[in-house]
Symmetry: C2
Subunit: 336 residues, 2 copies
């Protein structure tokens, strides 16, 4: 049963379970600190395809297939695929799933897409609309770079606050049986703190993460101590520190249990990614490759997963607009 608690949160009393998940990443992500956690690392940035856009689709399809395999579920038994990405018109997900023969719900939550898909999928299962769903998303450094910033050949300099788009995908199959359950979701509002620098996404998204996490603690009556770990999506080193400072000013210590997927996925000292990772694939691959596995392994019993997104486009930035942020949060809990 779905029960509303407070203004923005829902409690899912049955709690849809993670039946399987998979993470596929690129070479650079494979060389990072979480390298060993991913199901597949592609040495080829083209994934054997003729364009980076097709590569991104290929990666998503691989990831989807692996997640279904690991869930021991024939893809035809899924009732919904919830997917989205960063490409214009979300083509990499649509083309990846074009032969799936499964009802498809396209999402656009920018880098918050994994939490949006996971939460909506959980609500579909909990509400009786589906018995199995798959939440899928990903990003590719080369497609994002040329769409959002510059042609890759240009080799433009990057500001210290900029982040590196993760080449990676994550897929999570939800259903009824499994040890890790989605027990709560808190959906976020759009928060625009007036940041206009598209090379400082962490500062643009941190206020949205603050708003959603604060709403979550308020609605559930919980505090950070109630969680073994709290993850934001891709705030990077700068956004991570801003979020910590915002909570500190509010009298709340997040402490070392708070981590950001964009900080975890690369070695910031040696991999030349400046403030860390970003992109839909950042927290999606860290969730499916690292977080859920660590929960299975008994590292954490209860995790708060808060994916963050920046809802701007190159056009909106060129027209002088600031960057609206959003953050959706999902509670994952391992049964005893």
């Amino acid at each position: 049963m779905i029960k509303r608690i407070g203004k923005q949160s829902l409690m899912l009393s049955d709690g849809p379970a993670v039946e399987g998940c998979a993470a596929v990443v690129g070479k650079k992500e494979g060389e990072g600190p979480l390298g060993k956690r991913f199901d597949l690392i592609s040495e080829d940035s083209y994934f054997g395809e003729g364009s980076w856009e097709k590569a991104e689709s290929h990666m998503l399809r691989q990831c989807f297939t692996m997640a279904c395999d690991k869930a021991k579920l024939p893809p035809s038994e899924l009732q919904y695929i919830l997917a989205g990405d960063l490409l214009n018109q979300c083509v990499s997900s649509a083309f990846a799933m074009r032969e799936s023969k499964t009802p498809y719900l396209g999402l656009y939550g920018a880098c918050s897409t994994m939490a949006e898909g996971l939460s909506l999928g959980a609500l579909l299962v909990e509400g009786g609309a589906a018995s199995h769903v798959c939440a899928l998303t990903g990003s590719h450094f080369c497609t994002a770079e040329r769409q959002y910033r510059f042609p890759l050949e240009y080799g433009g300099q990057r500001t210290p606050s900029s982040q590196w788009t993760v080449t990676g995908a994550g897929a999570v199959v939800l259903g009824k049986s499994g040890r890790i359950r989605v027990t709560h979701v808190t959906h976020g509002r759009i928060i625009d703190a007036g940041i206009k620098d598209p090379n400082s996404m962490g500062s643009a998204m941190a206020p949205a993460a603050f708003d959603t996490l604060r709403a979550h603690f308020r609605d559930t009556g919980r505090s950070p101590e109630d969680y073994g770990a709290i993850f934001t999506g891709d705030l990077g080193a700068l956004g991570h520190d801003i979020l910590q400072a915002l909570f500190k000013a509010d009298g709340v210590e997040l402490g070392p249990r708070y981590m950001d997927c964009g900080v975890l996925i690369y070695d910031l000292a040696t991999q030349e990614v400046n403030a860390g990772g970003s992109g839909c694939g950042c927290c999606a691959s860290v969730l499916a490759g690292h977080i859920l596995q660590a929960m299975e392994d008994g590292v954490w019993e209860r995790v708060l997963f808060a994916a963050t997104g920046a809802l701007m486009s190159p056009t909106s930035s060129q027209q002088g607009e600031s960057i609206p942020g959003i953050c959706h949060a999902v509670v994952l809990e391992r049964e005893g």
Copy 2:
């Protein structure tokens, strides 16, 4: 209660009700056959803003506010806004709702967005996740033209099969009280019939409409005669005829009860729109301005609303890809 029927459909036994709706359109749409049905017609394609992208946002915000007003619902009492559009990174919806302070679920279903938002919103209400939600979408001729095709100043010739992107927005507030209810939804799969001509969207989307409507009739055990009217989103004149022919080959006569919003919104003989209207705003404004009003007026008791989308991008077409289509269907029923 949500009950699965068949492979792709859901029955909503309580049936979330339309509490209010609004349609805002541009000058050309105001001059069309449905002109008198819309709540607001803007003579100014800029809607008083400095760019067409900002105009599109402005129109969406106006439409959202009017729908809440007509529902007599303070926007702060909404628990979800489900919105999306055609612009890269769906910026017009995000910027339109940036001050809303309401949890925001971004969708990308191309021109199927109104049915995707309406159906997901109905499931959130029916499943107990929300008491009031708003589904919102729109499109603008000038933003779409320059993003998908050519700079407007170029004045390129248009093929006979091409469609005219509707400048328009539609918003529907769903809740518990109202005479028109969402009783069934059928979510569509991605169908790619191999059409590669981005100037022939109707032919690319008609096979998806066929697939979803056929699934709907199969799952519900209903036939076209069970509906007072059946609407597709924006197949245009060509797609309308293709869908009719596909059903005919299958032994099913859709008959005159079948209409396409892209054919209805313009006078195809005099308004120089070639095969008709298209864009997220096409079926959204026709639904909110015309269909729901006619149902209130007693014209139809039960309507099948099937919005259609083409999940391509200029990049995917430039890379030689065909155009995947999708269609989601929603049953609207008026109480006695």
